[in-house]
Subunit: 210 residues, 2 copies
């Protein structure tokens, strides 16, 4: 059975500060065959960010070269920087039967939804925009100007949340982790993914002595 099983592509979006990273790291600790796709970006690394771990940090010239060569499954400009997903690694992991999570913003998500309609999509909401602003301030990595821009962006992003399959309100991190875990787990039971099992049950009929 497992040989026939291909992994599931999962789109995971939500405003900066909604808690995507925390949810993801906890869900991934619970689930073995779940791989996080590492995006390419032209943004400057934050202090604790390592190249090839949080992101592949590349120049705008290198990024645009990849776009030109058709190596990007999706890409988008967000708060002045480019972000994109290289197609090769995603494909590899799916073929191996792993589920792959793309942590991407709404423009990129739209591109993936169009290219791969069977992808599962999840959007994380902050409980309110006030709370979002507080979280961004507490993070202490961005200037007030950047925070205000991020809250403004958040509004535009949240307005597109209805395009996603599922919406998680992150007012309690453990609850959100549990919800995301269940959503991913249930993908296994989607009828498209069960086709070979349906066939197996139908073929079992040959053994019945009527």
């Amino acid at each position: 059975m497992n040989k026939l099983k291909k992994g599931c592509l999962i789109i995971f979006s939500g405003p900066s500060g909604a808690g995507k990273d925390t949810i993801l790291s906890k869900v991934m600790a619970k689930k073995d065959n779940l791989k996080l796709s590492i995006s390419h970006t032209t943004r400057v690394p934050r202090e604790n960010e390592v190249n090839g771990k949080s992101y592949y940090f590349v120049s705008e010239k290198e990024f645009m070269e990849m776009v030109k060569n058709g190596e990007m499954l999706e890409y988008a400009k967000y708060c002045g920087n480019y972000y994109g997903t290289s197609v090769v690694k995603v494909k590899d992991e799916l073929e191996k039967g792993n589920d792959v999570i793309l942590e991407i913003e709404v423009q990129g998500a739209e591109q993936v939804m169009k290219k791969i309609p069977e992808a599962l999509s999840i959007f994380v909401l902050p409980p309110s925009l006030d709370e979002l602003k507080i979280r961004l301030k507490n993070r202490g990595t961005d200037s007030d100007e950047v925070i205000n821009r991020r809250v403004k962006e958040a509004e535009n992003e949240i307005a597109l949340a209805h395009n996603y399959d599922y919406v998680i309100i992150n007012d309690d991190i453990e609850k959100s982790v549990e919800q995301e875990f269940k959503i991913i787990e249930l993908q296994e039971m989607k009828s498209q993914k069960m086709k070979h099992i349906i066939d197996e049950v139908l073929n079992s009929e040959k053994n019945i002595n009527r």
Copy 2:
């Protein structure tokens, strides 16, 4: 928030003997706001069946009168008898915010999927057709001829399982109950059902002092 919430319509199908009734009664015991729609049928009651509880038992004439008056959300002929869902009660429960389960066969399910595309649909598979035949025999309510007809019908039904959102393989009743429960629970997080919450978060922005 709750005032805005309307219930979810759930289509639940699977061959006779797959274990639908057992799964349903256990899921309903776990979930308060889940109501089972009681079908109308022209079939003869089994020994333990009470009118208005398992089914509303009606004559073919009465049944056809309801169809003619547009009172049926769906109806179908199955193993020589008519089965149908009266629209009035379903609508009532949904308006009250309750989830409503329709335990119906594949023809009726197809009609409901067409009329109400946002309905959630779940199909229960037996582990094999052999196992299905054994379960039907053990039930001891049907003649060999009826059992053979039911197995034959089961094949036709299982061939349509891929039209449903989710497929449960009922090889372990507790596991199946848990899966069905999770599928229904997660409906609450579907983005269509979250529209008012998305709006609430967006409107919270008005309170932010920029």
